[in-house]
Amino acid sequence: MARHTTAVTHGHELQRTWELAPRDVLDAGLRWVRTLGAGRRSVALVALALGVAGALALVAGPVLSGYANRQVWAYTAVAFVYLMSTAAAAPCLSTALRVARSHWRRPVNRAAEVWAVTLVVPLVLYLLLMGTLPGTENRLSIWFGWPLSPWLWGAILMATLAGAGYFYLWLSSLPDLAIVRDQADGKRRGLIARLAGPWRGSHRQWRMVEKVVNNAGVLYVLVYVPTMTVLASDFVISMIPGYFTAVFPAYFTISSFEAGIALTILTMAVLRRWGGQRDYLGLEQFWALGKMLLAFALLWFYFWWSEFIIFWYGRTPREINVLKYIMAETYFWPFVLAFALNFALPLLILMWNPIRRSIAGPTVVAGIVLVGNLIDRIRLISAGFSVPDITQHELHEIPAAYIPNLLDIVILAGAIGGAVALVLFTFRVLPFPSIWEVTGGLWLRQHLPYKHTRVIVVGKPE
C-alpha cells in the first residue's frame, strides 16, 4: 500500500529530534536559563522600556482624564482585549494538543503555555478598565441587573482565569523547574526552589502531574471561553446599541484561538531562529500548526459570515445600522483589513501545501494574522467605545470613527511590550523546550524496520 512505502520521505530535520539523547535536550533547554545573551537582553530591555512608557502613557492619558470620557480609554481596552485574544489564547492551544495526545506537540507546548505568564497585564488593565464599564441599569447587558455587575463578576472571571493560567503554567513546568533548581547557579536558586516546591520526581508525583496537567489545561479552557463570552458582551455587544447577535461571543473566542495559534507559531519561529531550537521545532510542528491556522482562518470567516448573512437578510433598520457602523461605512477599512488579514490572505497563502510545509510560510501568515487580529479588535472596541448614548435600544444615527492619537499608540505598544518583556524574562527561569515532555516522547518513539523501509513507531499509552 502506498501509504506504507512513503514512510520516511520528508521531515529530515525532524529525524534529528528523535535521535537526540536526553542529555542534548537538557543542554538545549537550559541554554537561555544559563545565559540570555546580550542581543536578547537588549530586546528584553527595549520591551521593558516600552512597557514602562506604556504605563506612563496610561497614567498621562486615560487615568488622569478620568472615567467620564469612555472614548479616551478605547486603546487601553484594545490593548487589554488584544492580549486576551493572543497571549491568553495560546495556552488553550497547548491544552488542545495535550488532550489530543499528539506527539509532535511536545516541543510546542511550552512555547504556547509560556504566554500564560503575561496574564497579569490584562488583569491589571481590566481592573483599570472596570471604571469605564457603565453600570447595567437603564441599558441592555447580559447581566440582567445582577448586583455589582458587570464589574464584580468580570473581575472574578479575570482573576480566576489568571489563577488558572498561572497554575497551568506552573504545573506543566514543575518537573523542569526542579531540573533548573538542580542545575542553575546560585542567583535565581531561591525563587526557583520555591517554585519547584517539594518535587523529587517520585513515581507518585509523576503520576499526579501527568493526570493533573491535562485537567488544569481543560480548566483553563473552561474558564477562558466564558471569560471571552463575557468580555465580548461587556466590551462590544452591549456597547453598540442594537447589536443583537448571539454568535459574536463565539466569533470573538474563535478568532482569539486563531490569534493564539499565530502567536505560538511566531514564538516558535523566534525560538528556532534565535533560540537555537532548530532540532525541536521543525517542519512537523510548523506544518501541523499551519494546518490548524488555516482551519481557524476558515472558521473566522464562517463565524463572521453567520452573523453577517442574518443581519443582511433580516434588513431591519436596526440591523442595517449596525452593519453600516461596524462593517460597511464607519469602520469600513478596518473591517476590510481585518477580513483580508484574518481570512483572505491566510487562506490564499496557506491553501498550498508546499507553503504550509515550510518554516517561513506559517510564520509569515502568523504575523499577518496577529496584525489582522489587532485591527479587528481596534475596529470592534473603537466602535463600542465611541457610541455616545448606549442606553438607547438601537443606533439611530451612526457615530463617527475614533482616530487614535499618539498616547493611544504608546499605550497599545506598551501593553504588548510589557507582555513580551515578561515572556523574555520567564525564559531565564523556564527551560525551553519542555525537557520532561520531549524526553518523555523520546521514550515512546522507536525506529523500526518495516517491509523495505524504516518507520517511526509511536507508542500510545493510556
Binding site: 434588513r315 431591519t316 436596526r318 442595517i320
Partner: protein
C-alpha cells in the same frame, strides 16, 4: 408607474365585516365553513381582528381590518424558492398561484399572518359556481393565496386607460373592500399620485395619527392605519405598533 397603497381609518371602522364579505365574493375566496374555522385554516384575504380595550365593565371593542400589507421590503418574497411570490413594479406583493409549490415559507416569514394556504381542494356548492369571478383564478389545493389589492381591477383600469390613450385618473376605481365599506374607512389608491385620496390622507396623517403595523421591522408596508380617536381616553403615548 403608480404605487398602490391603502389607508384604513380605524376611527371610522365599525367592524361590520362588509370588507371581508366583499373580498370573498370578488376574489373567489373559498367558503370558510365552521369546520375550517375550527381547524384554524380559514382563508380571509382581509380579516377583521377584534380586541378589547380596557377592563370590564369599562370595556370597548376595537376592530382592525388586516389585509396584506404589500410591504415594499417584504420578508415573504426572498424566501420563496420559485418566485411564486413576487414584487411588481407597481409595488404590489403578488402571489403567482400556478408557480407556487406550497413550501409555506412565505407564511412562516410573514409577521402579519395574511398569507393563506389551501389545505384542502376548495369546493363551492353548485348553486354558487356561477358567482365565481371569471377574472380571478380559482386556486387549487396546495398553494398559497393572499390579498392582491384586487389586481384584476387594477389591470382592467390600466387597460381601459391604455385603450383610451390616457393616464390613469386618481381614484377611478377601487378595491372590493373599499367599495363595500359603508363608512368609507378603507381608501385605496396610488400613493404617488398627489391627487389621490390615499396620498392626501397619508401625507396629512403621517404626523398625526397615521402608523403602520409592525413598522419597526423595516418592511415598509403599503397599508397605513389611522389611529382611533378616543375622546374619552386619557392622552397616551403614541405606539408604533398595535398592542
Amino acid at each position: 408607474m403608480p404605487r398602490w397603497g391603502m389607508v384604513i381609518d380605524l376611527d371610522r371602522c365599525i367592524g361590520c365585516g362588509a370588507c371581508v364579505v366583499a373580498c370573498q365574493a370578488e376574489n373567489n375566496v373559498p367558503i370558510n365553513t365552521e369546520d375550517v374555522y375550527h381547524q384554524r385554516r380559514a382563508i380571509e384575504w382581509i380579516r377583521l381582528e377584534r380586541y378589547w380595550d380596557g377592563e370590564y365593565p369599562d370595556i370597548k371593542a376595537r376592530y382592525i381590518p388586516v389585509p396584506c400589507m404589500h410591504c415594499q421590503n417584504a420578508p415573504c418574497e426572498p424566501v420563496c424558492p420559485v418566485y411564486a411570490t413576487y414584487h411588481t413594479s407597481e409595488g404590489i406583493n403578488m402571489q403567482v398561484y400556478n408557480r407556487c409549490i406550497g413550501t409555506r415559507y412565505c407564511s412562516v416569514n410573514c409577521q402579519w399572518h395574511v398569507r393563506f394556504f389551501n389545505f384542502w381542494e376548495p369546493k363551492w356548492p353548485d348553486s354558487l359556481k356561477n358567482q365565481l369571478n371569471p377574472n380571478v383564478t380559482v386556486r387549487s389545493r396546495g398553494v398559497m393565496e393572499k390579498c392582491t389589492f384586487c389586481i384584476q381591477r387594477i389591470v382592467k383600469a390600466e387597460h381601459q386607460a391604455k385603450l383610451e390613450g390616457r393616464d390613469l385618473r386618481a381614484d377611478e376605481f377601487t378595491t372590493a373592500c373599499a367599495q363595500a365599506c359603508p363608512t368609507d374607512a378603507i381608501v385605496f389608491g396610488d400613493l404617488d399620485n398627489p391627487n389621490s385620496r390615499v396620498a392626501q390622507l397619508v401625507n396629512s396623517a403621517v404626523n398625526e395619527r397615521g402608523y403602520r403595523l409592525l413598522e419597526d421591522l423595516g418592511t415598509e408596508p403599503s397599508v397605513y392605519y389611522l389611529k382611533k380617536v378616543d375622546l374619552e381616553a386619557p392622552v397616551e403615548e403614541h405606539s408604533s405598533h398595535q398592542g
